[in-house]
Symmetry: C2
Amino acid sequence: MVRIKDIAKEANVSEGTVDRVLHGRGGVSKKTADKINKILERRNFSINPVASALATKNNHTIAVLIPEYSETDSFWKLPYLGLLKASEDVKNIGLNVNYFKFDQYNSNSYMEAFTNLIKMKPSAVILVPMFLKETRVIINELKKAGTKYIFLNVDVEGEDGSVYIGQDSYMSGYIAGKLMKLSLTDGYDCCIMQASTSTGDNQAIVKRIKGFKDYYTAIKEEIKLHELKVESFGDEVKLASSVTLFLEKFPNIKGIFVPSSRVSAVVKILSEEQKESLQLIGFDNTPQNVVCLKNDTVLFLISQKPFDQGYEAVRLISDYLIKSKALKRKLYLPIDILTKENVDYNDANQLMFESDLKYQ
Amino acid sequence: MVRIKDIAKEANVSEGTVDRVLHGRGGVSKKTADKINKILERRNFSINPVASALATKNNHTIAVLIPEYSETDSFWKLPYLGLLKASEDVKNIGLNVNYFKFDQYNSNSYMEAFTNLIKMKPSAVILVPMFLKETRVIINELKKAGTKYIFLNVDVEGEDGSVYIGQDSYMSGYIAGKLMKLSLTDGYDCCIMQASTSTGDNQAIVKRIKGFKDYYTAIKEEIKLHELKVESFGDEVKLASSVTLFLEKFPNIKGIFVPSSRVSAVVKILSEEQKESLQLIGFDNTPQNVVCLKNDTVLFLISQKPFDQGYEAVRLISDYLIKSKALKRKLYLPIDILTKENVDYNDANQLMFESDLKYQ
DNA sequence: CTGAAAGCGCTTACAG
DNA sequence: CTGAAAGCGCTTACAG
């Protein structure tokens, strides 16, 4: 391993001068800079990041704005765990991550959390941009402060210079369409079921539905697609009555596509016979959904590596802050097709982290 | 951040003594050890791994024994890239990774590579145990030397204390069976196609076939499964003639399952009409296979995250050597279901690494 | 424009 | 059983 000291000796300069060249801090004559650069190149020098981190006392604060999760609606738990894991990994190099949680159904709590966040003057921000209008305000403030930000899981259109890490929602819907086609015996219809209550997150759902429909258009199949908007997936009684009515009205429906993470809520209100005869496809490996997959009430789940989304978001920001690596406009994570059989293997990283947590 | 210095001051001892307690090096009176431990606990101290790594000059050597890859048979490229990426990540903390490559069809080259490997006296070894008999010899030597080892991608049965990182082959075959069933219109047969030349690697293939068949047993379908052993996937002429003959003999075959990474070789020798009418399912996202997926000649690929296998292997060994984290018996990575539509999103990590390589 | 010295937090001999 | 000091490789003021 070649060290700054070695370079300095060979160039007959001090270590400080080599350091200046290395980081382009200026204040070095062209002549010596050239000389040093040549040696650097020839000896294939690269900075020891460990020593660098120790000496620099990097003291960056990363702030995360993310919805809180609950027992029944646990989608946001996995991204959170991924963020947590990465936070540990980068603590070594002087990065501290702080969390600000909000209620995903309440835009006031969103803004409130942001107000607390911005007080910390973070070096960078990872946020789930749930409410469009409020998000514009937030982005403006961040831009004014010159703070870099990454959108996690939810994208915002028309923001140049923004970074999105998540799934290609359109394509994931398209794939759901393909799987539905495979699962349905010819001649049967399919129903797309969504909640009419908007959570601000529905941009992804709209795109998934578009992709789903486009698949059927592309293959030129004469399958009828019905659409049912239920009031909410949370209210079992209402959900049950509207679904039952709908299925009675269109008895040819044999497939149900739920483009949100709430397919398990639909399963809950189906009769045994319906569970037998209907093919359900949904999104996201929440614990409730996984149960349905395993007891054969849901055939496929499309999953979006929520744990990895969190993890990668922190890693990207970290590389940006420490190694000034450029950020890409979009980082699409895998579109996982989950079945009863492969769901348990799906997130090895996440499982390893969870078992580590247990032993602490 | 609380430092050793802070603990030492509070306990009225030197930093060296705190360090002894921290690492259980002994030579500390019970009384002072207790005192220090209490303070450590109360102040929630944890070692700064960056400073630790720098001071220790960890100088571990990890040796990797892996098949070389070629243009046409590029399966081993991705695990290699994953290993490379992780090597970079851990270089900071004093881990050096050395590679020893062998010809996967030649057991002599396997042993030769190992002979060179063992001369380096590595702290740990990652190996692809291709040849069973030779592998037993290798394992014996490693055990004698007290060197920890990890099996990558290929498992060896009946070695207690061994560690495997890869896929659950049985289950991946089972899933292939399920997908085949979905893809075949009722009443048609399916053919399982494998090469009779063994590469030592065929244990995984045997298990995949077992899983595939078991799926059909489990669902009690009356689908006929034919089996064709071709001489080699490398010889186009012979392959073409034996496949053609077989398909003529059993015209009811509409599905072909190739439980190795060579499905693209089969596509190559099919006629246009055959490509149209046959449903092919294979393994692994090699460039050639991905091409077939995209031009609709292969319907599904089961993939085993080869890049991640390499990456995780190094990370596990690193945690074992540096943080003395226990190694698990098996680490199963995801069983990915790849289609034309999601294949490009499948390995974000790998893509990011490859684009980094380009810019270097 | 350049160098000498101190320091980041932990570990390693060495001395007692 | 315990402490004082030097060192890991890089960075940061400060002096000139």
